[in-house]
């Protein structure tokens, strides 16, 4: 652990700019897809159609994402390094444990209650500044508090 998290490495500026651009593209994708409308999300999660019929549209969001990401991942995985950095930083955990499944249950509960998952919540929070998406003004700060509480508790535990 370095004090102040240290210096920037070469090329950091370009990588940070790429991250910003990727965030913009991600927000555009979410907004076009319908994920930023909690009612549409609830209509997708309502698989039994208890509120007047199931809307399967949002299955195509994951489908479209996989259609692009899956083949590219197979190609990129053969590379030694990404284009702008010296190595890949991919998830290393493979265990299916109580934390993974318990976290999934809590996340699913909250997603089903409000119709927001993290990406759409942040995008809608940005949109709330224009008067749209007022529910995100409450949901998104609560989500950030939940994340911070977990990080603080997890830090103390370890």
């Amino acid at each position: 652990m370095s004090a102040g998290e240290g210096q920037l490495e070469p090329g950091a500026g370009r990588r940070i700019a790429v991250a910003f651009a990727a965030g913009l593209v991600f927000a555009a994708g979410l907004t076009l897809s319908g994920m930023t409308m909690p009612g549409k999300v609830i209509g997708f999660l309502d698989v039994l159609g208890t509120q007047g019929g199931w809307d399967p549209s949002l299955a195509l969001v994951m489908g479209g994402g996989l259609l692009v990401f899956m083949p590219v991942f197979r190609l990129v995985a053969q590379r030694q390094r990404p284009l702008l950095d010296t190595r890949f930083r991919l998830p290393t955990k493979t265990d299916i444990d109580g934390r993974l499944l318990g976290g999934g249950v809590l996340f699913g509960l909250g997603w089903g209650l409000a119709g927001f998952c993290p990406g759409p919540a942040l995008t809608a929070f940005g949109a709330a500044a224009t008067g749209a998406a007022d529910a995100a003004l409450i949901f998104t700060p609560a989500m950030a508090v939940g994340m911070a509480l977990f990080q603080a508790a997890d830090r103390r535990r370890s």
Binding site: A22, G23, G34, G39, G53, M62, L106, Q151
Partner: protein
């Protein structure tokens, strides 16, 4: 099926895939929102370099400013037809915040990148949170008629 929007939903999914490819191919990173934005809530010193925090902040800023611009251009894309009390939104937000950190990912990291990498761990996570969300919506709909 009157609300079915296959073309815009697929198109949005393709853009999300493009964003994930940008982070992977250029920066060597996985595009998981709860890991990226949730990582910003880690205490100072948790990361080995300053870039770890800065790129996460930049991506999150892109999401927020993207939302700001799109909200101004197309406010209807953020329409909310759900009836949720402030209390329900706070509880739901806390659950999503804690759950995604405990479970190391959400719809993007496990759902697109994890499944795209054919990770059994991510498949288990996706089945769990989708199942929990299906059950939650069905239960609240049947018990309360859909308003909370």
């Amino acid at each position: 099926m009157e609300n079915f929007t296959p073309f815009t939903s697929l198109g949005g999914g393709l853009l999300i895939g493009l964003s994930s490819v940008m982070l992977l191919l250029l920066n060597g990173r996985i595009c998981g929102i709860s890991g990226i934005s949730g990582g910003l809530t880690k205490l100072p010193g948790a990361y080995e370099s300053r870039e770890e925090r800065l790129w996460r902040a930049a991506f999150t800023l892109g999401l927020l400013l993207g939302g700001l611009g799109l909200g101004a251009m197309a406010p209807e894309a953020f329409a909310n037809t759900t009836a949720r009390s402030t209390g329900a939104l706070v509880v739901a937000g806390l659950l999503v915040g804690v759950g995604t950190q405990l479970g190391s990912g959400c719809t993007s990291g496990h759902g697109i990148c994890g499944l795209g990498r054919r990770s059994p761990r991510s498949l288990a996570a996706v089945l769990t949170f989708m199942g929990a969300a299906f059950a939650t919506v069905t239960a609240t709909s049947l018990l309360t008629g859909g308003s909370l």
